[in-house]
C-alpha cells in the first residue's frame, strides 16, 4: 500500500475512534430476554369419586384450573424440593469489601429469620462481586443475567455498578432491590438510568443526604465556605452536586468543586488547589482508598490544617481508621442513622453470628430489601397441588414496587410514593440521616447528630 494511502487510512481510523468516543452514552446492549417458559399445559386431574350406585348421585368436582402463565415477562417454575434462587450483586472484594460484605451479612440474618425457605422451598443464595465500578459491575451483571433460575437480585452496592448492571438484569426479567445505591439518577422520573419497576431500593435518595449534609454544615457547624471533591463515579458526583446546590441555597459559598481518580494516591495537587480558596469545610463523598489519602494529606497541606473534613456513607468502614491513622480524628461522615428495638435486636443477632460489630452501614437496609422480596414472592406466587411454585416476574416486580407501609428495621417502607425532591417511586425509604465523627483508633464512629426525621 502506498505511503499516502496508508497515511490516509490511519487518519480515517483515528477519526473514527474519536467519533466513537464522542458518542452520547451508549445504550446498554440488549440481552436476549430469556424465552418465556412454555405454557403450562399440565392439567391436574382427579379421579372423580364414584359414588356407590345406591346413594344419590353427587355432582363430581370439576378438576382444579391449570396454571397458565399469563405474565408479560414470564414465570419462574420451581419444582417441589428445588430452591428459590435469590442472588446478590455486591462489593465483596477489594478495598470497599466491607460495604458489600456487611450487606450480605444482613441478608444472611434475614434468611435465617425466615427459616431458610420460602413457601416450602429452600432458598439458594449466592452471587457475584461488583467491584464498585462500571467494568466489574457489567461483568457481574452479565453473569447473573445469564442464569434464568434467578428470581430476584439484592444489589448493587455502588451506584456506578447499578448504572450498567441493572439494565442487563432488567432485560433478563429479574427484580432488583438495592440496599445501598443512593444516586438520585436511578429513580429520577424521566432519567435514562431509571429502571423502576424492575428496580427499587431501600437506601435513601442522595437528594436527601446531600441536603441534610449541607444543612448540617451551614446550620450546625456554621461554616459559610466549602469545597467538594468527587471521584467521577455517579454516586459521588451527584451527591456533591446536591450538597453544593443546597449549600448555596442556604447562603454559603462553594469555593471549588474538584475531582480525583479513585485510584489516585497523590492528592497534593487537588488539595493545594482547594487550599487556595481557603474553604472552612471539604465535603468528599467518595470511597476508599482515595478518601483515606485525602484525610491524611489534607492535614499536611498548608492552609488546610484546620479545615473540617466531611465524607459520606462510602467512607463508613473500619478500613478508614486503618488508612488514615491518627489523622482520622475529627473526620465526619454523613450516613443513615437507624434506631429502634427491632434494630437493636438485629444488632445482637449480627454480633452473635459474625463476632463483630457491623462493618458498614447498610446491613439493615439489606435485611429489609430481602424481606420485601420475600413478602412480594409470597403474595404473587402460585402454588400448584403437587408443590410446584410459579412466580410471575412482572407481578413480582409490581408487588415489590407497590410495597406500602411495610414495617422494616429501618422504618416504614413505601416504594411508590413521591415526596419532592427526596423520594420518588422506587425509593422505598426516607430513613433518617445522621452525622458521625471518627476518633483515632476507634470504630464505629460516634453518632453526633441526627436529622430528626
Amino acid at each position: 500500500m502506498s505511503k499516502k494511502a496508508f497515511a490516509l487510512l490511519s487518519l480515517l481510523v483515528a477519526a473514527s475512534m474519536i467519533l466513537a468516543a464522542c458518542q452520547p452514552a451508549a445504550t446498554p446492549t440488549a440481552e436476549e430476554t430469556a424465552p418465556p417458559p412454555p405454557e403450562e399445559t399440565e392439567v391436574m386431574t382427579e379421579e372423580p369419586t364414584e359414588p356407590p350406585v345406591e346413594e344419590t348421585l353427587m355432582p363430581t368436582e370439576p378438576p382444579p384450573a391449570a396454571f397458565e402463565c399469563t405474565d408479560e415477562i414470564g414465570c419462574v417454575d420451581i419444582a417441589p424440593g428445588e430452591p428459590v434462587h435469590i442472588a446478590y450483586l455486591l462489593v465483596v472484594a477489594g478495598p470497599n469489601e466491607s460495604l458489600g460484605v456487611d450487606s450480605r451479612n444482613g441478608i444472611e440474618i434475614a434468611i435465617e429469620d425466615v427459616g431458610g425457605e420460602i413457601l416450602g422451598h429452600p432458598i439458594q443464595f449466592d452471587g457475584e462481586d461488583g467491584g464498585c465500578g462500571a467494568e466489574t459491575g457489567q461483568a457481574a451483571g452479565t453473569k447473573l443475567s445469564a442464569d434464568p433460575s434467578i428470581v430476584a437480585v439484592v444489589g448493587t452496592s455502588c451506584s456506578s455498578e447499578a448504572r450498567v448492571a441493572v439494565p442487563l438484569m432488567a432485560d433478563a426479567g429479574f427484580v432488583v432491590v438495592s440496599p445501598s445505591n443512593t444516586a438520585p439518577d436511578l429513580t429520577a422520573p424521566g432519567s435514562e438510568n431509571n429502571y423502576v419497576p424492575a428496580y427499587a431500593r431501600t437506601a435513601h435518595n442522595d437528594n436527601l443526604q446531600g441536603r441534610i449534609a449541607a444543612e448540617y454544615a451551614f446550620n450546625e457547624l456554621g461554616v459559610t465556605t466549602a469545597a467538594t471533591i468527587h471521584d467521577g463515579s455517579l454516586y459521588a458526583d451527584q451527591l456533591q452536586q446536591v450538597f453544593a446546590a443546597r449549600f448555596q441555597e442556604l447562603g454559603g459559598t462553594i469555593t471549588a468543586q474538584e475531582a480525583v481518580d479513585p485510584n489516585q494516591t497523590d492528592m497534593s495537587a487537588v488539595l493545594t488547589s482547594i487550599a487556595a480558596g481557603t474553604p472552612e469545610l471539604i465535603y468528599f463523598p467518595i470511597f476508599l482508598p482515595a478518601g483515606g489519602f485525602i484525610v491524611r494529606q489534607a492535614k499536611q497541606t498548608p492552609g488546610l490544617e484546620e479545615t473540617i473534613l466531611m465524607g459520606a456513607d462510602g467512607l463508613f468502614s473500619p478500613d478508614v481508621t486503618e488508612a488514615a491513622g491518627d489523622d482520622v480524628e475529627g473526620f465526619k461522615v454523613s450516613s443513615p442513622a437507624i434506631a429502634g428495638d427491632a434494630y437493636a435486636a438485629f444488632l445482637e443477632k449480627y454480633k452473635a453470628k459474625f463476632g463483630t460489630d457491623p462493618i458498614s452501614i447498610f446491613h439493615a437496609h439489606a435485611y429489609d430489601a430481602f424481606m420485601i422480596i420475600v413478602n412480594a414472592i409470597e403474595s404473587v406466587a402460585v402454588q400448584d397441588e403437587d408443590g410446584t411454585l410459579h412466580i410471575p416476574r412482572q407481578a413480582l416486580r409490581d408487588a415489590v414496587t407497590n410495597t406500602t407501609g411495610y414495617q422494616g428495621l429501618i422504618g416504614s417502607l413505601t416504594c411508590n410514593e413521591t415526596i419532592e425532591p427526596i423520594k420518588y417511586p422506587g425509593d422505598c425509604s426516607a430513613s433518617g440521616i445522621g452525622v458521625y465523627e471518627y476518633h483515632a483508633g476507634e470504630y464505629p464512629p460516634e453518632l453526633i447528630w441526627t436529622s430528626g426525621e
Binding site: 497515511a7 497534593s268 487537588v270 493545594t272 487556595a276 483515606g292 499536611q300 497541606t301 498548608p302
Partner: protein, 353 residues
C-alpha cells in the same frame, strides 16, 4: 533546493511536529497564565516541588530495573511493576507486627532496615524467579515473544499476590519519629520525604557505583555491548544477567518501602501505575542509560506534582489534578517527538570517560 526539502518532509512529520508545538504552546501559555494570576504562593510551589522530587526518587529506583534489563537483554520487563509491588506488600505484615509489639517506635532505624531487607529480598527473589522461569528459556526467541511473556507474567504475579494476601488493602504504620516536618524558611520538608529523597539518592549512587566501578559492573556493560563476544572473553553471561535482574529487583524493593513511607496504603494493584510512570521515566531519559533513568524519573515526578496546577490551572481547565497522569505522558510524547532517543539517549555500554 526547496524541492528536495519538500520531498524530505512527509505529512506525518508535519503532523507530529504540529502536535509537539501545540503541546509546547499550551504548556508555556498555561504556565505564564498561572504565574501571573498569583493564586499560589512560592511556598506552595516549593511544597509541590519537593513532593515531586521525593516521588521522582522513588520512580528512579524502579526505572533502574527497566533500564538495566533493557540494556542487557534489549527487552522491556513489563513484570517489573509486580516486582516492585511484591516487596512492600510482603513487608507490610512485618511492619504491622513490629508496630504491634512497639519495636517500630522504639528502634525505628533498625525496623526500617529490617523492612528494607525483607522488601529487597522478596523483590530480588521474584525478579530472579522471573528471569529463570519466564525469560531465560526465550532468550533466542524473536523479540516479541519475551515481551508478551512479560505481560503475562505481570498479570500472573498480580493475581497470585491477590490470592495470597487478599484483595483488600493494607496500611503501613509510620513510626512516630517520621511523622512531622522540618521547616527552613519557605521550605517545608516532611520527614518521610527526607527519608525518601536521601534513600533514593543513596541507592542510586550505590547502583551507579556498582555499574561503573566494579568488576561485575564492567561485566554487565560488556554483556550489554555484545553478548557473544563477552562470552568469548570468559564472562558467565547467565550469571551476569541474573545479577542484573537481582540488582533491578533489589532497587525496586527499596523503592517499594520508600513509596510506602510516602503513601502508606498497599494492595495487589499498587504496582501498575508507578510501574508505567517509571517505564516512562526510563524512556524519557534514554532507555539503557542509568543516569538517564534518574534524570527522567526526577522530571516525571516534578511534572506530575507541579504540572497540573502550573500548566492547566491558568488555562481555566476544571479539576486539572485528574489529568496529572495524562500530563506526564503528554510530556513524554513531547520529548520523544523532538528527541526520539530520550534526553540522554545512550546505551549502558558506551563508557563515560
Amino acid at each position: 533546493m526547496l524541492r528536495t526539502w519538500r520531498q524530505r518532509i512527509e505529512l506525518t512529520d508535519i503532523l507530529v511536529w504540529g502536535i509537539g508545538i501545540s503541546i509546547g504552546v499550551v504548556v508555556i501559555v498555561g504556565t505564564i497564565a498561572t504565574l501571573k494570576s498569583g493564586k499560589y504562593s512560592t511556598a506552595t510551589w516549593l511544597d509541590l516541588g519537593i513532593k515531586g522530587l521525593a516521588l521522582g526518587g522513588v520512580y528512579a529506583l524502579i526505572a533502574m530495573g527497566y533500564t538495566l534489563v533493557y540494556g542487557i537483554l534489549r527487552m522491556i520487563n513489563f513484570a517489573h511493576s509486580e516486582v516492585f509491588m511484591s516487596g512492600p506488600f510482603t513487608a507490610v505484615f512485618l511492619a504491622n507486627a513490629l508496630a504491634r509489639s512497639g519495636f517500630l517506635n522504639k528502634q525505628p532505624v533498625v525496623s526500617l532496615i529490617l523492612l528494607l531487607a525483607l522488601s529487597m529480598g522478596v523483590s530480588m527473589t521474584i525478579a530472579l524467579l522471573l528471569e529463570r522461569i519466564a525469560y531465560r528459556p526465550l532468550r533466542a526467541a524473536p523479540r516479541l515473544v519475551p515481551l508478551i511473556t512479560a505481560i503475562g507474567a505481570s498479570f500472573f504475579l498480580q493475581y497470585t499476590f491477590r490470592g495470597l494476601y487478599g484483595s483488600g488493602f493494607q496500611t503501613y504504620p509510620i513510626p512516630t519519629i517520621l511523622q512531622g516536618n522540618i521547616t527552613f524558611g519557605q521550605i517545608r520538608l516532611f520527614n518521610t520525604q527526607i527519608v525518601a529523597i536521601l534513600g533514593a539518592l543513596a541507592m542510586m549512587l550505590i547502583l551507579y557505583g556498582i555499574v561503573q566501578w566494579t568488576k561485575i559492573g564492567k561485566a554487565m556493560r560488556a554483556v550489554s555491548e555484545d553478548k557473544e563476544v563477552a562470552a568469548l572473553m570468559g564472562i558467565d553471561v547467565d550469571r551476569i544477567i541474573a545479577v542484573t535482574f537481582a540488582l533491578g529487583g533489589a532497587s525496586a524493593g527499596a523503592a517499594g518501602i520508600l513509596y510506602a513511607l510516602l503513601f502508606p496504603v498497599v494492595n495487589f494493584f499498587m504496582g501498575f501505575i508507578p510501574g508505567i510512570k517509571a517505564f516512562t521515566a526510563a524512556v524519557l531519559g534514554g532507555i539503557g542509560n542509568v543516569a538517564g533513568a534518574f534524570l527522567g524519573a526526577i522530571i516525571i515526578g516534578l511534572i506530575e506534582s507541579v504540572g497540573p496546577l502550573l500548566f492547566l490551572d491558568g488555562l481555566g481547565v476544571p479539576t486539572p489534578s485528574q489529568l496529572k497522569d495524562a500530563i506526564a505522558f503528554t510530556i513524554l510524547v513531547f520529548i520523544l517527538i523532538f528527541r526520539p532517543t530520550g534526553i540522554l539517549g545512550e546505551r549502558l555500554a558506551q563508557a563515560k570517560a
